[in-house]
């Protein structure tokens, strides 16, 4: 079983026993020794702080085997709802040859687990399922156990086999020795062996199978402990008071305004950070509402209606992703050229539960229960915020509401830490809906221009992509708490923005991590083609500008926005030369894995091969169409293609998606059930984002701060039929899979609208007003 059981059972035990995992570790094979059980605070009861991450090169940092043969695995990649915990337990079970149920997985606790930086960026599958880290630990442990058995049984290694948690003699299976007997309760004392053999996916019996999520029974019965459910003895409740306008500063705080209110314990102010602590959450909320704070006026915001023009006028810092230096000439020579401008708005993570954390700061030491995606960075940045030593802080990941990137998780952990330090007692903070939505790090807006030329046969001879992207703040990383609102309000600065007047230097290596380079580019740098297409006259230029709002990674950051423009524009080009959109894509792709997902999706959808728009379009009533899009996610971290079939009501401008077919290649498939869940969720989340989601503001503040003002598709919308086509690649490396399908939805839907109506949507979201405007603009 997995962490949730650890989570439910052991967390209950932790509550009772003051957060000690001593007994748990004792019975599971001691990873970390020398616990002290003295003292009353959570930290003291936990014991001596770790000085840093367990060394990732050491097997004992990843795997422990108890005397009873049960296996405990430690990972720096956490469960956010994306299903990675199930797959990681499958991986350990597979490589160690033990049943799935015998593996306990512990993830993201600075007291125990190796520092694997973030759980983000579709990096967990590649990091832990290839030839390093957790996968290699499993293989190293299995080979070590076989060697130990060889010594014990005096039988050569090549005559032994591992299965069901024991090593046995091939010719005489009754001669066997269990893992518990071989190593139980002791350390391996081994370095990860790069030569230890990973099992061939064709041999898999646990990985590659649709294992059910062991968290679910606890989740569906209300037993699962989210961070919101963490309760610590003596815990108080905090609420924050955020500024009323962007850039407003505290002039004064009238503490007497909440004096005498029931349960109020503390009003805490540090620079522009204001918070209230009370005995109960309802009391804290009321006090936060009553507290009189005088603020300076805000710094003002650019007009939303003119924001695209505003972006073009800002100081920039430029990056060239690829530049063949001949695009201008090729475009001037091309028989036909096409230009289009696309705009993608700021969008938000909008977690359904507002972010929550619990902190217990006692003197020089602190324990944090946080939904952060990076426990070690949360530790180092909270240390800066509180003026404590990092090694005196323990950060324990507890699952929050699904985050999809940098939601309020890190900032609310700072909120709780500051308020706990102020009162010297454990404090839980859950943000209000408005605190969450008005101040989170939004997914970046993007303005994108595409220019391409086609030759007499309709082939693309040159393509330029140019994007403007505003940013402010980011993940706090190891040392920048000012990258999120709480750290900034408390006096820390975000990453500085340094505009540059000089042109971007020529790229020296190919990096398509942001998908700023369309899939159809050759990606030629120093004579080597690293892209996935065959267009060699190519240029991709990104202008970074300063954002008036906090920004940070939102599921498929930059990749979704860039791909929206590239894949719509590819459709525009295909239409211009009267080519079928799928055939046209295949014609300009060179990379077989991307071509394969394209043809697989088209085949599964029974794609009707013909140019768009469809013939004999009616200009009123309901029109139906189909659209296509594909992506090589981050250039080389997963491949997906999508067919969307939809209806456009040309009288109301509303879109009804009927069917989505999505194909995906993430290398060897670890858990088909989890993979399908991600592809389905990504497809629908992408629909919600491109049909209704847009951050809005007035001249001083964010105005989309709840579910009436920020428009998410509810559970009961007209959900399309979704079909997933999984391409298993046992001979390839594992890639990410959680962000592929969402990346291509907006383009596939935009292209389907065009197919149905001949109207091109170049600004997301495709609200009924924008659809009607595009319909009216048809010639």
């Amino acid at each position: 079983m997995m962490t949730p059981d650890m989570s439910s059972a052991a967390n209950a035990a932790l509550k009772r026993e003051g957060f000690s995992r001593r007994d748990f570790l004792k019975s599971s094979g001691a990873l970390i020794v020398s616990f002290s059980m003295t003292g009353q605070s959570a930290w003291a009861q936990f014991g001596a702080p770790v000085g840093g991450s367990p060394p990732i090169s050491q097997l004992d940092s990843w795997i422990a085997i108890a005397a009873d043969g049960s296996v405990t695995a430690y990972s720096g990649k956490e469960e956010l709802g994306q299903g990675i915990s199930v797959a990681q337990a499958q991986l350990v079970a597979e490589e160690l040859c033990v049943p799935f149920q015998r593996v306990k997985l512990i993830y993201c606790d600075t007291a125990f687990t190796p520092d694997q930086a973030y759980t983000a960026g579709s990096q967990s599958h590649p990091a832990n399922f290839n030839h390093a880290n957790l996968a290699q630990a499993g293989a190293t442990a299995r080979e070590s156990l076989i060697r130990l058995a060889s010594e014990r049984l005096s039988v050569p290694v090549d005559q032994l086999t591992a299965a069901d948690g024991a090593v046995s003699v091939r010719s005489n299976p009754s001669r066997r020795v269990g893992y518990g007997d071989l190593v139980g309760g002791k350390k391996f004392n081994l370095t990860l062996d790069a030569k230890a053999r990973r099992k061939d996916p064709r041999e898999w019996t646990v990985l590659g199978k649709p294992v059910q999520n062991p968290d679910l029974p606890a989740i569906v019965t209300g037993q699962f402990e989210f961070v919101h459910n963490v309760r610590v003895p003596g815990m108080l409740h905090g609420r924050v008071v955020r500024p009323p306008a962007v850039g407003a500063s505290v002039m004064s705080v009238d503490e007497s305004s909440v004096q005498g209110m029931p349960g109020v314990v503390e009003v805490f102010v540090r620079k522009n950070f204001v918070g209230v602590v009370a005995e109960k959450p309802w009391q804290a909320l009321q006090a936060a509402g009553k507290l009189k704070v005088a603020w300076t006026p805000g710094t003002g915001l650019p007009k939303q209606a003119d924001f695209a023009d505003h972006l073009r006028k800002q100081p920039v810092r430029d990056t060239l992703l690829v530049d063949s230096k001949d695009t201008e000439q090729k475009l001037s020579e091309a028989p036909a050229i096409l230009k289009a401008t696309y705009y993608h708005p700021y969008q938000m993570h909008g977690s359904v539960g507002s972010s929550c954390a619990v902190a217990d700061v006692q003197g020089e030491k602190a324990t944090l229960w946080s939904p952060t995606q990076a426990v070690w960075y949360q530790r180092s940045t909270t240390a800066l915020l509180l003026g404590l030593k990092p090694e005196n802080i323990r950060v324990i990941f507890r699952r929050g509401s699904g985050c999809y990137g940098l939601n309020g998780a890190d900032t609310v952990t700072y909120d709780a830490a500051l308020l706990s330090q102020a009162v010297g007692k454990p404090v839980r903070v859950q943000l209000t809906r408005k605190d969450e939505m008005a101040w989170e790090n939004f997914g970046n807006a993007f303005l994108m221009e595409e220019r391409a030329g086609v030759d007499g046969r309709g082939n693309i001879v040159a393509w330029e992509h140019e994007a403007w992207s505003p940013a402010l703040g980011n993940r706090p990383g190891a040392g920048t708490p000012g990258n999120v609102i709480t750290g900034f309000l408390a006096g820390f600065q975000p990453n500085p923005f340094r505009p540059s007047s000089s042109p971007a230097p020529a790229p020296t290596r190919y990096n398509n991590n942001s998908n700023g380079v369309p899939s159809y580019f050759a990606g030629r740098i120093d004579g080597a083609d690293k892209g996935t297409g065959n267009i060699t006259s190519e240029r991709s230029l990104v202008h970074n500008v300063l954002s008036p709002f906090w920004t940070g990674p939102l599921r498929s950051p930059a990749r979704l926005q860039n791909t929206f423009a590239h894949e719509c524009f590819m459709d525009e080009l295909a239409s211009k030369v009267k080519a079928d959109p799928v055939e046209y894509r295949v014609r300009h792709l060179s990379f077989p894995r991307l071509r394969d997902v394209v043809t697989a999706a088209a085949k599964a959808a029974k794609w009707d091969t013909r140019p768009s728009p469809k013939p004999a379009i009616t200009r009123t009533g309901v029109a139906s169409g189909r659209g296509f899009a594909c992506v090589a996610y981050e250039g080389d971290n997963g491949y997906a293609a999508m067919v969307v079939e939809l209806d456009v009501n040309q009288d109301t401008g509303s879109i009804s998606v009927k069917r989505i077919v999505v194909s995906n290649d993430c290398g060897p498939i670890s858990n088909p059930n989890g993979l399908r869940n991600q592809l389905e969720g990504g497809a629908l989340q992408g629909m919600s984002r491109c049909l209704g989601e847009e951050v809005t503001w007035d001249d001083e503040k964010i105005t989309s701060f709840d579910w009436r003002t920020y428009h998410s598709l509810p559970l009961g919308f007209d959900v399309p039929k979704i079909e997933t086509v999984l391409l298993n690649r046992p001979d390839e490396e594992a890639t990410g899979a959680g962000e592929t399908s969402i990346t291509i939805v907006a383009a596939a839907i935009g292209n389907a609208i065009f197919d149905a109506t001949g109207a091109r949507l170049r600004q997301s979201p495709f609200t009924p007003e924008r659809v009607k405007a595009a319909l009216a603009a048809r010639v």
Partner: protein, 155 residues
């Protein structure tokens, strides 16, 4: 502050609290129940939904005093991990969750609706679920789970 008596999942609790406190706070903070969740505090997302006298209510905007005379059921009141209620089992069978945060409100909303409308068809179920949010967009599986349970109720 005043004494408020609540009947939750068949057990009676007497609590001393501000009667204007939203029911959600009482359930999750005073009674330490993990089912009902704070999502928005505005009655917009459904994460806090519990069943009060047979009706799905948004506990984040329901003052505790108005629930004092009623029977309250939370997700915990339906079944246990070892013996889940059929609607909970349907969510397990369909693997209908990602992060799982919204699940409580979704199950309670669906259960209250199907208790009153056992013959509801797919379209009626969809409409009944049109004011709850799942931001992981596990919609396909959740709607399939609710329909699976509904078929069982009808059968």
């Amino acid at each position: 502050m005043s004494a408020v008596t609540l009947k939750v999942n068949g057990r009676t609790h007497t609590l001393d609290l501000d009667p204007a406190t939203p029911l959600l706070y009482t359930l999750s903070d005073d009674l330490e129940l993990r089912g009902p969740k704070f999502g928005c505090g505005l009655g917009q997302c459904g994460a806090c939904t519990v069943i009060l006298n047979g009706n799905a209510v948004r506990s984040c905007i329901t003052p505790v005093k108005t629930a004092a005379s009623g029977e309250i059921t939370t997700l915990e009141g339906l079944g246990t991990p070892e013996k889940p209620h059929p609607i909970q089992q349907a969510f397990i069978d369909e693997q209908a969750a990602q992060c799982g945060f919204c699940v409580s409100g979704i199950i309670m909303t669906a259960k209250a609706f199907l208790d009153k409308n056992p013959k509801a068809d797919k379209e009626q179920i969809r409409q009944a679920m049109s004011s709850v949010l799942c931001r992981c967009f596990t919609h396909v599986r959740m709607l399939a789970a609710i329909e699976r349970y509904a078929r069982g109720v009808k059968a």
